[in-house]
Subunit: 147 residues, 2 copies
Amino acid sequence: MSQENNDASLCIENQSCFSLYSAANAMVRSYRTALLDLDLTYPQYLAMMVLWAEDGISVKALGEKVHMDSGTTTPLLKRLEGKGLLERVRCKQDERSCLLQLTDEGKSLKSRAQEIPKSMACQSPLTQEESDQLKALCDKLRLKISA
Amino acid sequence: MSQENNDASLCIENQSCFSLYSAANAMVRSYRTALLDLDLTYPQYLAMMVLWAEDGISVKALGEKVHMDSGTTTPLLKRLEGKGLLERVRCKQDERSCLLQLTDEGKSLKSRAQEIPKSMACQSPLTQEESDQLKALCDKLRLKISA
DNA sequence: GTCATTTAGATTGCGCGCAATATAATTGTG
DNA sequence: CACAATTATATTGCGCGCAATCTAAATGAC
């Protein structure tokens, strides 16, 4: 395919990393439409999912679950607080720690969010089997390279 | 695993999209070290690979190959120009179009970059087969959802 | 040729993602 | 108890990623 490049190793079309990178961007892009209704970005949606599953956890615990550091979580959580979806309160036992409490509005958003996984699964071009396979490969990759 | 969430659909641990997203971020992060020596970010490295394979192409053609729009490519290419790796020249036949010409420095960077795919492949936790599988799934996903 | 349409690229604005650093609270050590 | 080390979060700065908008050049329709 490539005329000027005799070795294929530096060719983006051959690199699984580039495919991974592009697919992730495309995925986030396709979530945008679905999340417009909830007024959430994809990373914000991830944070909300964590809190819907486990309200009241610390910033640190949430950061570990979504694999983000405080440079990403702090401003993101401030934006969610600004939208009135949660409150950030200092932990009494450990004043360093900051606990995240969903507001009523934040909790009520969960019911509207139930549609998101359904609609995304519907428009996914992958079968359930392929999706599971993709997940397993991505998990293996992430776990090993960030170790 | 989750105590407060009786349905699994809104749980990030079950979502292949979250795995894809996290794996892509981890991958870019792991490239950072390898690319430090070349003074390139991962997206800049992608652009350079395209130009190493096909010097002189337009901004539009490059954007299509790396799947980025002008809001991303324009500042990225200006940074590469600022580093002295390429020049952006208006096309004589079509003044709207902007052609990208590698400088000698930009061309010579290719030889040093040959090490990158090798070292990344070495530290990859995936077998060649798994990597191919991941690429196929990502390509299928991206092609269909951005159609 | 005139004018609407299309096209290539640039600009603006916002939200990540993350390295590096700072701050303040807590814990560990002697 | 003093004080070094650790820990949780916040801040700063930079480079994407992309929607929305703008400009200017080229193309198409009549």
